[in-house]
Point group: C3
């Protein structure tokens, strides 16, 4: 992995890893439920008592900000008869969460504080029945959860990323626009599509006017992420419908960072795209081998947002169009790969990050195999 | 089963019994196709030749009233090439049922009486090809079928129920209104919801003004049914939108029976709710582990129906609203129980009938297990 | 097979051959992907560069007419990363087919002629990555493909059919109208329905006025086809809404052929119905055990089409109505056969071709079994 030798043995993965429900289940178990994954933004539940409900890798989770300002996550399942505790997508809880069926009540740390008529039951102790907790941490304004057992801290998974991205001040940015997409393609095809620009001249006429498609300078891929930066073509200052920049540079950026876009796929489910004047995050939520939900968030600096002439539509329109081009071709890839006639094909040198990502996933799912391509 | 000891070992069932298709298939085989189940009312096919088509536990059945006034049931499958004999939901047959494909014709007892060109086939005998019969009996105006082999009479399954409910004169009542519901919940959650009123203060503001939710007097649970009676709060005379009774008492009721509502879950698929002045039956038709169809019938006495100022809307509106509250929370239970994070939870003393029902089902499905909760 | 003895042991097939996905998969593998099947008409892609995309037995295929006038077929899968090469249903390619993702380009013989940046990859040779070819041949204006390995020529499958049907001049006829249908029935029920007219008096009041339903003269069934001819009732000259013939006889027909309709089921997926003045083909495309797509084409002679008073609606309306009657009853057959209560039933002497077809399919799927009915 990460070597520079290129030969034709570097092939795409076999078809079943994109279609087989059993393989997908293994990915959910060994990747999505064995790593920190992004589920939401901290500013979606800004005040104590704010909560939201999110589904990730088959789990419905409640994320709630406690009286102490800390966000905690729980499985959305009452400990009495299993009913969903929170219906809908979120709301505000005045100090407790109550099951709508028989009124079992939990405080915002998940402790059971009310259970009608259970005191009549011999041996029943409220402390034995807290909400099932899920590890939850924050970085760069994003809420990560880890639904596996005894997770190492988020920092150990992110490695050098927080230091690298410090200049963009992610934790200071605010959500201005969210676009959601339902794509009929395996989640890995979304990551692979993000990790190369060889398709840019064919698929993205607008984006191709902003960058030169061979202009990426990639960092060495790790077990946590892959990515790199692309400079602008002459006259372009950011990614917008016309390449013009309508907002001040993000305050922490130095000259080099003002002249490029950073593209990082942070495993397993965050695509982080950093521009000189704004940031786009795309969160990946696999639904089945054949379907993926995507959430694109557009983040801007509060000082810009406060300006009377603040605009964001140029950035959102640029990416909404570009993203839809990517989702559409990914759906065509999915269809072809699902064919009986599909056989693994050769990667070019420009697709090294894809091969590395493939090997990383395969290594997670089947640790006894170094290269199944 | 039926003991009074209560301790925390009385837990809800594991999740797979609410979600696993194989478990569901076993329930259909060992409960729904091994017992008498309600499929319709006799007064839906009042005249000789009237027939209707009903689907229960995966079988499409024809119920037809013969020239002799007796209702018979058959599988809705022609013995020639397997075509559905009766399309649609029912109708009137003038003495025979004819397959719409090649005109094989059966009399109303299921005997093959016409089979064009089959007489040319060596060894063919019409008597070898009657419609596949299904046992059918009547109680209280309800049609029960048993699709298993050599069933014992319906009376042996009903035990003491006919005697208990004789005062309500069920066989004299007539259908005035039918409401049907499609609920995304396992059929057992519908039975469990019916068997406790602990949720009444939370879920049913209207019902809770009629009864005190702890006021149930239950009979000992048997292998055939569970249930009990609830008295009215002061000023309430029946279950209607305002608690007022707008119809005469059913003629056979004594004083005690006029002052209460009887709630009986008659295994496996009839919920019988008897009021002083009318009766509601809810028939349960499981469609999959995750889906159940429910048919609520509202029955009144013919003398009341004949009165010029007869009204029924107060009763139907009360129950339609209350039923919808129950179906909605049952759907939330289904979702939570289907979660990976769900674990069995403790029953309170007020949920004894649920535990007994659970054990009954589990005992039917897996006779080698006494308690899998 | 093909004997004349008739007894009740000639029964319909067991239910699972109409419902089991594993059986269906075996049929696709051992019948549809092991024989020549009809996928399109040659005149749909008349000019060099014209192409169309068709799905058959789970494969998406490209059919393209080359500069040399020959039609070739390929799997619709790019050899790079597996993307569908051609979206949509067809079009015109100016000399090459280009993948919409990374611009890999193939000539109309399937050879890879462009692969951006692949020359940088050690050991990469374009000649190793042609489109996956599929055998394609033409008869009677129809395009047949064979997706299996090393197929024998189409002629060996068709046997004596081309000679038999030479008088109708199929290759000269032109498509005037196409009707497509989605039917919720197993593909075999469509073939079986086509192979007997015992149902005609019950199902087809209009058709029954044209033929006598017992008037078929069948040829001996072979491993390639079954079929026969039916003469007209008095005063009828062709199958149209009123039995009148509004077009000249097809030029090659002799007197006997002008007085009948030929009905041939050409295994596995072509129903060929030849009238004195026009031809209808129905192509069968199985989608699942429970679903089949059907394409009915109405073909006329160019000299008739060129006449100012040419009409075809009388023929199309007749068959559209008759076909819908057949599809509807086939759906009812499917439902009944899928019942738990279904058991194989006896065939009459008038259904000999059905039994022969059944045995042929079963013999293909399970060569160790001579008769599983």
């Amino acid at each position: 992995m990460g070597t520079t030798a290129r030969d034709e043995r570097r092939q795409t993965l076999p078809g079943h890893v994109y279609t087989d429900p059993a393989w997908f289940d293994a990915e959910m178990a060994r990747v999505f439920r064995a790593m920190w994954v992004v589920v939401a933004r901290g500013d979606e539940i800004a005040a104590p008592g704010d909560f939201l409900v999110r589904e990730i890798a088959g789990d419905s989770l409640i994320l709630v900000r406690g009286q102490d300002g800390r966000v905690r996550a729980f499985h959305n399942v009452c400990r009495h008869r299993g009913t969903r505790l929170c219906l809908g997508e979120g709301g505000h809880a005045a100090g407790s969460l109550q099951c709508p069926y028989h009124a079992w009540t939990y405080d915002l740390t998940g402790r059971l504080i009310g259970a009608p008529h259970m005191d009549e039951v011999e041996g029943f102790r409220r402390d034995d029945h807290p909400l099932h907790p899920v590890a939850c941490e924050t970085w760069g304004g994003l809420l990560f959860v880890h639904t596996g057992r005894d997770p190492a801290p988020l920092a150990s998974q992110l490695g050098g990323l927080p230091a690298r991205f410090a200049p963009w001040g992610l934790e200071d940015l605010r959500l201005v626009r969210r676009e959601t997409y339902h794509v009929k393609a395996n989640w890995k095809l979304i990551v692979q599509n993000y990790n190369e620009c060889l398709h840019c001249p064919v698929i993205h006429p607008m984006l191709n006017r902003m960058h030169h498609y061979l202009g990426a300078e990639n960092v060495p891929t790790t077990g946590t992420y892959c990515g790199g930066a692309m400079g602008f073509r002459e006259g372009v200052e950011t990614l917008s419908t016309d390449g013009r920049r309508r907002r001040a540079y993000l305050p922490g950026l130095r000259a080099a960072e003002r002249a490029r876009v950073d593209y990082f796929a942070i495993y397993p489910n965050l695509l982080l795209t950093l521009h000189p004047d704004y940031v786009m995050t795309v969160t990946i939520r696999p639904r089945s081998p054949l379907e993926t939900d995507l959430v694109a968030d557009f983040l801007f600096h509060p000082e810009e947002i406060a300006k009377p002439d603040f605009v964001f539509e140029d950035a959102v329109a640029f990416w909404d169009g570009t993203n839809r081009e990517d989702w559409a071709i990914s759906e065509q890839s999915q269809l072809g790969i699902a064919s009986r006639a599909y056989t693994p094909g050769p990667y070019s040198a420009r697709e090294a990050q894809l091969w590395e990502f493939d090997q990383w996933v395969v290594g997670k799912v089947d640790r006894s195999t170094d290269d199944i391509s």
